[in-house]
């Protein structure tokens, strides 16, 4: 059996020897280097573009918007984001021109010889400025999208409560900061265009390329190269870079490579949506939630891009994993003149998770109830109903994760020890312990998977091995490995006898994007179904071949009555000789009874949720207000772990990104431009900042996932920020309603709290 085993990852060795080829490692004959000329201005009109006449422009390829053969848009949800600005600049770093030359030095030299003049317009730079509508930059009220989720009677619920508690929470931008910057190579071919590069979603790039040059499915070819991290940052933006490289390549009729440097990557590509989230909760004295009103506003940036989808996930997760009969969630995403915000691991959920968990902390504080107890009183359990009216029918690990996190971290003992320590006098270093409880819907929201109809397949190679055909990308999380494990076990052959087809749109079907924690649960399921069909076919064939009706395929051998008749490879070759290539493609179908209504925004938002609980232990220096996270214990229910080691790796990595979100990662803006666009001043955690981590995987199997698996990619991003803020509260008494918890912010809150309590 391969499933549940920590087999060696498929592409493991090449990553360790330096043999793995990432996009910047590829150099082609005659290749040019491309560069993007961007606006320094957040909002304005282009008045003129001039090229220095003293410079020899003959070896330089230059493209502007007029070189775009079709429509000037990046294909995504709405056609609103141009590939190159024609006249209206809507955010800083917006692409205006593309240039390419034989060397990077020459390209840089040419870039410095271009002058662009603008007429400046007043930019809208914050959620508040967007909402006050003094400047209108989108539609007639700057609102990209609205959602309403309503359940029960909020007014009645408020009457049933003894107390109303309000909170307002702010969450910042966050940069994905994959260590491999974005990059693409476009190669003009006789029939169309081929693009190679670092990406999560080959078929998004494929669609954008087709639209750009009006190509057929076959004429546009997109190949994913080894990808050095994505975290959502390589979901939609790669389409832009691919189209840019392709425009230059088309004009020059030579291959063109565009690789962003770190500063360009931070400044120009998508970020996590910042937001303001307001809670108004009615509770009874014994801690039951009777009504909850939540208002979410996210900053979408200058174009729609994926914002509606992020907003939808934020709205659906806004109440948290809690029971409440009367709920009203309003969500809006607004336009600002900043680079479009987009996909980032968690996709709207980490934002609202910080808010709902801090609101629980506030309620606990106000009611004088222990925070853990409050979670226990209100947590969703199997059979309960969520804010969208979804009844949780299966795979609900809520209690299990909370118990596991509390026990493994010795939460109670730590709470007590801290109390005793506190009583014994004031120390300049204070310890604190806090917890968070969260959930994450796996797969696309609502009817997304039903519409997407993800496809994937398996073919049997001439050598008699199984080859997986899927466009789900390996971006470090282990896609290739877990797919091979699933196929090996379903088919009954060895893990080493399964291989993965290159992620190339001319060879693999569209499995949908590699996002939304859907790769294992959804695409893995499709692959499992394909394997099942292959097995049926080849078993039937073998049964006839050997005249053995009871034949079975186990561990790569056809057996009947304990007797080995042939190897899988032998039968597969014979099958091919008689019937031609054995290949099966399957398609995703939603499990029976999973239903969603887009109009009322109610129903089964996700086929299953993953559940998490986390305990953070911090130490706060009361002189510098620096917070060190000493330890994080996290328990996560991800369904069956196909590969426990890889799953733990996802949990640890996601958790540390969330520590950065909670503590250090913050962008500094000046007139709509990012000031800290380097690794020296945008601070992600190093090995020295990383807390000790203890990970508990809880496996509440999901009946419609492959071998019971759910999603693991994003859940780990949701829990650390609120757990840390709760621990800081425990340590210092300072209630943090905005992240990151920087020393400056913490000092201000602490001073404020002290003043308040002195005045009391």
């Amino acid at each position: 059996m391969a499933v549940g085993q920590n087999v060696l990852r498929k592409e493991g060795v090449e990553k360790l020897t330096g043999a793995a080829r990432y996009i910047d490692d590829i150099a082609l004959e005659g290749m040019l280097y491309g560069k993007t000329i961007r606006s320094p201005l957040a909002r304005g009109l282009i008045k003129s573009i001039s090229f220095d006449t003293d410079f020899d422009w003959s070896p330089i390829t230059v493209c502007d918007w007029r070189d775009i053969p079709g429509e000037n848009f990046v294909a995504l949800i709405e056609n609103d984001q141009p590939l190159l600005v024609a006249r209206d600049v809507r955010h800083a770093e917006e692409p205006i021109l593309l240039i390419a030359a034989e060397s990077r030095t020459l390209v840089e030299e040419a870039a410095s010889r271009i002058r662009i003049e603008y007429e400046e317009l007043t930019p809208v730079l914050s959620i508040e400025e967007s909402l006050d509508c003094r400047e209108i930059i989108y539609g007639d009220d700057n609102v990209f999208k609205r959602f309403l989720i309503a359940r029960g009677e909020v007014d009645e619920g408020i009457n049933q409560g003894d107390l109303i508690i309000e909170g307002c929470y702010r969450v910042p931008h966050q940069e994905q900061l994959y260590i491999e910057p974005q990059g693409m190579i476009a190669i003009p071919t006789d029939t169309g265009m081929t693009v190679l590069g670092s990406m999560q979603c080959p078929y998004y790039v494929h669609k954008a390329l087709k639209q750009l040059f009006n190509l057929s499915d076959e004429q546009a070819v997109v190949i994913q190269t080894m990808t050095g991290g994505g975290f959502g940052g390589k979901e939609e933006y790669p389409s832009m870079i691919a189209c840019h490289a392709a425009l230059l390549a088309h004009k020059a009729q030579r291959p063109v490579k565009i690789i962003y440097d770190r500063a360009e990557d931070i400044a120009a590509t998508t970020k996590r949506h910042p937001g303001v989230i307001r809670h108004r909760t009615a509770v009874t004295r014994d801690g039951r939630l009777t009504a909850s009103e939540i208002d979410i506003v996210l900053d979408g940036g200058a174009y729609v891009t994926l914002t509606p989808v992020v907003l939808s996930r934020a709205a659906i997760h806004a109440l948290g994993p809690y029971r409440c009969e009367n709920v009203r969630i309003t969500a809006r995403a607004v336009a600002t003149n900043t680079p479009p915000n987009g996909a980032f691991r968690g996709f709207g959920a980490p934002q609202v998770a910080f808010a709902y968990e801090m609101q629980m902390e506030k309620i606990a504080l106000r009611l004088g109830i222990d925070p853990l107890e409050l979670r226990r009183i209100n947590m969703l359990k199997e059979g309960d109903i969520t804010a969208t009216g979804q009844q949780l029918r299966w795979s609900v690990g809520s209690e299990d994760v909370l118990n596991a996190a509390v026990e493994r971290s010795h939460f109670r003992e730590k709470q007590e020890a801290i109390q005793i320590e506190r009583a014994s006098g004031d120390s300049r270093k204070r310890r604190g312990v806090g917890l968070s409880f969260f959930f994450h819907g796996a797969g696309f929201t609502g009817s997304g998977e039903a519409k997407m109809k993800a496809r994937a397949g398996i073919e049997i190679t001439d050598q008699g091995r199984a080859r997986v055909l899927s466009s789900s990308t390996e971006i470090g999380q282990g896609t290739q490995t877990i797919f091979c494990q699933i196929v090996a076990d379903e088919l009954g052959i060895g893990f080493d006898d399964v291989e993965i087809e290159e992620t190339d749109t001319s060879r693999v079907p569209d499995s949908g994007p590699t996002v939304a924690s859907r790769t294992c649960m959804v695409v893995g399921r499709v692959i499992q179904l394909a394997a099942r069909e292959i097995k049926e076919k080849i078993k039937r064939f073998a049964a006839e071949l050997f005249g053995a009706p009871e034949i079975d395929l186990m561990e790569g051998r056809f057996v009947e009555g304990g007797k080995v008749l042939a190897s899988f490879a032998e039968v597969a070759r014979e099958y091919a000789a008689q019937n031609g290539k054995l290949k099966v493609e399957s398609q995703y179908a939603s499990p029976m009874g999973v239903e969603w209504d887009d109009d009322s925004y109610s129903g089964d938002a996700y086929p299953a949720f993953s559940w998490g609980a986390e305990v953070a232990e911090v130490e706060v220096d009361m002189d510098t207000f620096e917070v060190s996270v000493l330890k994080i214990t996290t328990a996560q229910d991800i369904g069956r772990a196909i590969h426990p080691l890889l799953a733990a790796g996802q949990i640890e990595g996601g958790t540390l990104q969330a520590v950065g979100y909670g503590l250090t990662e913050e962008l500094v803006w000046d007139q709509g431009r990012i000031v800290n666009r380097m690794l020296t001043n945008y601070i992600i955690p190093t090995s020295m900042d990383a807390p000790d981590m203890e990970t508990v995987i809880v496996e509440k199997e999901y009946p419609h996932g492959p071998f019971g698996a759910k999603g693991v990619g994003e859940l780990p991003m949701d829990g650390a920020a609120p757990a840390i803020a709760a621990a800081v509260l425990n340590a210092t008494g300072a209630f943090v309603s905005e992240i990151p918890v920087t020393p400056e912010r913490l000092m201000m809150i602490h001073e404020g709290t002290r003043r308040e309590s002195n005045e009391d």
Binding site: N6, L8, R9, E11, G12, V13, K15, L16, T17, G18, A19, A20, R21, Y22, D24, D25, A27, Q176, L177, Y178, I179, E180, P181, M226, T227, G228, G229, G230, F231, D261, R262, I475, G476, Q477, G478, L645, L646, A648, G649, E652, G653, G654, T655, L656, Q657, M678, L679, T680, I684, T686, S687, M688, A690, M693
Partner: protein, 152 residues
């Protein structure tokens, strides 16, 4: 300018402007693309190589400074088709996810184990503090280095 050095135990000569970054000479002239560029400013460690026993960021070092030096890149770790114990341990412990930081991590770890064969977890953390990883949370990288030290 002609510059001679020893890379992964082989003498090599390159002809390059003296101030070019060692990183570019390795990647472009010698096609040793295992050494990566993550920032170009000495912060991420993806470009780490060992020069005369010390870990350096090859994005900060002009090639002329390495004349006559002995350089080890990730391509030089496996010997005679056998993985270095560190590479084996990374493979088994899940130390590489996307793999882009891995060459730099392996180099930093190799330099550590060369001078300290039994490092503590804290010493390991310190040795890789200049190497950023966004995927792993460092846990499995530290596990791997510990394991390689225990059974080399």
């Amino acid at each position: 300018m002609k510059i001679e050095f020893e890379i992964n135990n082989t003498r090599r000569e390159v002809d390059s402007p003296p101030m070019r970054r060692l990183l570019d000479v390795l990647r472009e002239d010698l096609r040793l693309t295992g050494t990566k560029e993550g920032c170009g400013e000495g912060e991420c460690g993806a470009c780490s190589v060992i020069v005369n026993g010390e870990v350096i960021n090859s994005c900060l070092v002009p090639v002329c400074q390495t004349a006559g030096a002995s350089i080890t890149t990730v391509e030089g770790l496996a010997k005679d088709g056998r993985l270095d114990p560190l590479q084996q341990a990374f493979l088994e412990c899940g130390g590489a996810q996307c793999g882009i930081c891995t060459p730099g991590m392996l180099i930093a770890a190799r330099a550590l184990l060369d001078i300290n064969s039994q490092p503590t977890r804290d010493e390991i953390k310190e040795a890789i503090a200049g190497n950023l990883c966004r995927c792993t949370g460092y846990v499995k990288i530290i596990d791997a280095i510990e394991k390689a030290a225990l059974d080399p």
